[in-house]
Structure formats: structure tokens, C-alpha cells
Amino acid sequence: AQGGIATQEGIPKEIRLLGVRDHTGPVAYAGIGGARGGELAISEINRSGYLGKGVKLTIEEVDTAGSIETASAEMAQATADRTVHAIMGPTQGQQAATVAPMVERAQVPTIFTQAGSDGVVINDYTYRATAPMESYYHLATDYLAEKRLRDVSVLYNATFPTFAEIGDGPLPKQAAARGLNIVSSTPVQMTTQDFTTPVRSIAGKDPDAVVMLLTEPQSVTALTQLRQAGYDGQVIATSVQGGGNLKEAGRHGKGVIYPTDFSPALTSRKARDFVAAFEKRFGQLPDVYAAEGYDGMWWLARAIKASGSASRDGIKRGLQEVAKDGFEGAMGELTFAGGDMRVPGVLVRWNGTREELVSGGAS
């Protein structure tokens, strides 16, 4: 590769990006979703001549295959490649936290999606296009308070960083602030497969609602077994259950409500356009990962435009500048806390076949 390209100021004809994320392995869906959202955004950006006539964004994807090792190895290669202007970073929190110091050393601006743990957005080169779940999870407690569902049981995966963070901290606090009464809090671990026992004791308490912070297969099982244990109250879940992950729970999944940063049920024009374009291109509804990838890519494009330079430094400056004012994306009015995105969030209900809007989502 010819050296120095990505450090030249100004906007060249080709702006080369690299997507470094999981395309295989247990959380491949997040990487694949993000890549597809980004791909859609790039095609829109290029087609519309948003960055100037004939200016093309191109992206190449490499697979981190679910491993921190591979992620940092790929990232080392990506950052050493002087033709790369920016990187769309890993989706797994730990991969992201590991590569964060690397991108600073190499001074390559990197936008993560997902990557919901601490230690990711830690310097001038790390940005994240996913709002932390706890920043909009109050939608759930608001809803419970509004519906007077006072007594709440919490069932959460306490060894999964994102859920551990919510389950141990914000959730009890938000609940207390809204006069909710947490009657039981049941931590389980990543390897828990069968929920008969915890679900049994929850059903025994018969709370008004159950807040369930679990991974996809866990949530299907827990829901099924919760219903079989005779519990028929409201279940509140998370965006992890979005994107049709509750389908396998069949009738037991019906009526589950969860806050999410994006839903195809959103009604803003931006959201509807995104959903339509995505469906046309990929033949299916976009999930949260796709929306984040899409908005993240637009953040980048706006950044280049704002600073008038696609150099690594220019992009970095642009990202900060765009973050100051925020912009409207598929996920709604986007604001930023430093390099970290914030969304209005939306509360949806799974009706057995798709998501329905419950509240929020106004833009």
C-alpha cells in the first residue's frame, strides 16, 4: 500500500473503511447486522453524492470470529494499514475494550456498535453508535409505574456485563424512584439453561411484573417455563429479545414488552425510510444492530462533511463536532455524551409475529 493516504487532509475520491467485527461465532448476528446497516448507509451516501461528486466510501469486513485474540490481531493489521481512514469496530464489549487503547496509539478513529461495557469509549479515537441500555431502560420502569404494576421480580443474567450492570444498579434505583417494589431479584449465570427452579419461586411470589434480563436462548426458555409454572403477568425484557428472537417462544412470548433503541415499528420518516430501504435490499426487517450500523455510518459521513477532511484526524474532529449538535437518524433524535451515543428509545410489545409500539419513539 502507498503510505500516507489516510493522513492527507481533504476528501479523496475513495475513502477506505474497515469493518472489524464478528461475522461468525455466537454473536455473529450483531456484527452481521451492523455490517448490513453500514452497507445500506454507504450505498445511500455514495449514490446521493453526499460527500461530493464521485466520492466513494468503501468498506471491507474482517471477521473477529468471537475471539478477543482475533479481534486484536485484526485490529493491529487494520491500524497498521495506512490506507484505512476509519474503522467500524467490534461489537463485543470485551473485544472493543481490548482494541480501544490500540486505536488511540495508532490514531485511527473507530466507531463501535453494541460493545456495551465500560472501557470502550475512553479516548479521542473511540466512538460508539449504540446507547447504553441503562440510558433508556427507564422506559420500562416508567411503564410499570404508569400501569401500576408495583410488585416486580427481577430475573437476570448476572455474568453478562450489560445485564449485570442494569440488574445490580440502575434498575433497582429507577424502580425505587418510581415507587416500585422489587419483591425478588434472581441472578443466574451465562451457563444456566434450565430455569425451572428460579422461575418456580418467582411464580410463587406472583408479582405484578417480571423483569427478565437474559440472553436469547435463555429468554425463550425462561419465558416458556415461567408460563408453565403458572405465571401470567407482564414480562419486561430487553432489546436482546428484539429482532424476532422471541419467535421461538411461540405463544409464551406474546405480550412481552421491552425497551429498545430501535424498532421497525418506529413511525418517524427516517425510520420508515430506513426500514423500507433495508427490506428492499436484504429482504428482511432490520434489527437494532442494523439500525446502529446505519446511524453509525451516517455519523461518520456527517463527520467527514463537517470537518471537510477524510483524514484520520479530520474524521476524529468531525465526529466530535457532529456529536456536539446531534442529528436525526433511524433511531430518532440522536444526542451524544462525549463520543457515546444517546437515543430517545422506544418501548415495544412482541405480538407473536412482530413488534408493536407501546410508547416513546416520538421524534
Partner: protein, 305 residues
């Protein structure tokens, strides 16, 4: 070259740290001790180094020393505790030890960063330091593979009772392998963490056990060279297989299974067999061509008295 080096620096470094991890399982295995305590000590070392650096501001060198020492002590103590166990029972007990460590760090509160782990433990290691450590380890291990000590270690593995009838203190050898594997695990864990700056409970899992074992069996379980060859193969495989894209894991599986079937002594074993056959061929070619079929002693045995 330097370009290549900088873009592959992570792979180069993780080859060295992974080699230490593989050795931490290979060393006991060579003495017939089927122990994965080294992987547990990888976790202990990694966490101690990160805790030392993040919470107590230790220097890189002292964090690594602390980790190695703690790994050695922990494994030695474990070895004392379970010295009556053998074979797969011992393997199970050490796997249990390793997985319990993972649970303990998940429940470790702020000290261990709980489920999310610790980040920001960036040490000042470079490839030169790693090379130095690995070189010292490899030289030391070489002495346990050759000559009298090598034979004794082999006797302890193949037939402990015979070994003790030959005056070898089998229990002492076993305890020693525990300590060594703990030190190696601690070194590997701490250096890995200080290079990458993060450590999570996820890092200590059964897959790491499987990886270490796969490396030494595919590479060759009898000497550090086998561990090295295996490490190179498995660290670099994702890079090399990148072109098959999403079928990488399938190809990986096929290659591993094929190695198990076709390479009895691992890659190094196959290479040595090949070399031996080549030498024999040459020897035969050199000995007079018109002599009756080679009489490699055995056939002549019946009457050589």
C-alpha cells in the same frame, strides 16, 4: 518487513504468550500428570496482574513476577491437595479448579470488575521482553527433555511404579510439574493481560483448556518444539484461513480431525518419523548394495550367539 511486523505484532506476541500457556499443560502431561491447573493459573495470573496494575499501581515487571509466583504457589498447593488423583480424574479436578476460578472472579465485586472484568491494565511489555522470557523457559525445559532427567520424566509418565523402583521420587516430580505449570500459566496470563489491557471472566473457560490441549497434541506432546509448532499453527490459522471466510471453522475442524487421524505424534512426531526413515534409507543405501536383505539385528537375533 517492519510493516509486516507491525501489522502482525499482536499475532507474534500472542504466539509467545500462547506458547507459555500450552507449555503449562504440556509440562505436567510429559510427566504423566494430566493437569489443566496451568490454565487456572493463567486466570489467576491475568487477574492478579490487572488488579495489581489497576488498583495498586504496580509496575509491569512486578505485576508479572507477582503473577508467576502466585501461579506457582497456587498450583503447587493444588498439587499437594490432589496428589492421590491420576489420569482423567486428575484432569477433571484441575478443570474444576479452573472453572471455579472463573466463577470466583465473576463474583469478585469491584476488585475483579465482576462480569465485565478489568480494563486499562496496559503494561510496558514489548516483543523483546516476551522473547527473553520464552527463551529462558525453553532452555530450562530443554534440560528436562534430554539426558538423564528426560529419561526420568519419561519413566514417571510411562510407569510410575517402575520409576519409584528405579529410585525416582515420583511424588516430588509430580509436585514439581504442578509448580512449573503454575508459574508458566501465571506468566502467560499476566503477560497476555498486560499486552491487551483487559481481562474478563470469559477469558478463563473450558475452551482455553481445549485449545491448550489441541495445540500440544496436534503440535506434538513430547517436547517444547511440539508445543511451539502447535502454537504457531493455531495462533496463525485464523489469519491463514481468512480466505475461506465463513467456512473457516469448518476447515479448522477438518484440519484438526485429520491431524488426529494421520499424525500420531503430532506434526513434530511426523517430522521426526520422516527424518528417521530418511536416515535409515540413507544408511541402507550406503551399506553394500549386494548384501542380503538388511539384517537390522532383529532378524539375526535368533542366532547371534
Amino acid at each position: 518487513m517492519t510493516d509486516w511486523y507491525f501489522s502482525h505484532i499482536v499475532l507474534v506476541q500472542s504466539t509467545l504468550t500462547t506458547l507459555l500457556l500450552a507449555l503449562s499443560v504440556q509440562v505436567p502431561l510429559r510427566a504423566g500428570v494430566f493437569s489443566f491447573a496451568g490454565v487456572g493459573c493463567y486466570g489467576i495470573g491475568g487477574y492478579l496482574a490487572a488488579i495489581g496494575m489497576v488498583h495498586y499501581g504496580l509496575s509491569t515487571a512486578s505485576a508479572i513476577l507477582l503473577a508467576a509466583a502466585a501461579g506457582g504457589i497456587a498450583a503447587y498447593a493444588l498439587g499437594l491437595l490432589i496428589q492421590r488423583l491420576t489420569g482423567l480424574y486428575l484432569a477433571m479436578a484441575t478443570v474444576a479448579f479452573t472453572l471455579i476460578i472463573a466463577v470466583v472472579v465473576v463474583n469478585g465485586g469491584d476488585l475483579t470488575g465482576s462480569a465485565a472484568g478489568l480494563f486499562g491494565a496496559l503494561g510496558t511489555l514489548d516483543t523483546g521482553h516476551l522473547l527473553a522470557v520464552v527463551a529462558v523457559v525453553v532452555v530450562a525445559l530443554t534440560f528436562t527433555e534430554i539426558g538423564p532427567l528426560g529419561r526420568r520424566v519419561e519413566a514417571v509418565r510411562e510407569d510410575p511404579e517402575l520409576a519409584s523402583a528405579m529410585g525416582i521420587d515420583v511424588a516430588r516430580y509430580r509436585r514439581a510439574t504442578f509448580a512449573v505449570s503454575g508459574v508458566l500459566g501465571g506468566l502467560s496470563g499476566s503477560m497476555t493481560v498486560l499486552l491487551r489491557s483487559t481481562v474478563t471472566p470469559d477469558d478463563i473457560n473450558f475452551h482455553l483448556v481445549v485449545l491448550a490441549l489441541t495445540i500440544i497434541i496436534v503440535g506434538g506432546s513430547r517436547s517444547w518444539i511440539g508445543a511451539f509448532v502447535g502454537t504457531v499453527i493455531f495462533v496463525w490459522m485464523p489469519e491463514v484461513l481468512a480466505f475461506v471466510g465463513e467456512w473457516e471453522d469448518v476447515v479448522y475442524g477438518v484440519l484438526v480431525a485429520a491431524a488426529a487421524v494421520y499424525l500420531p505424534g503430532g506434526v513434530t512426531g511426523a517430522a521426526m518419523d520422516g527424518y528417521r526413515r530418511y536416515r535409515r534409507k540413507r544408511r541402507e543405501a550406503q551399506s553394500s548394495p549386494d548384501a542380503p536383505p538388511p539384517q537390522p539385528a532383529a532378524a539375526a537375533a535368533g542366532g547371534d550367539r
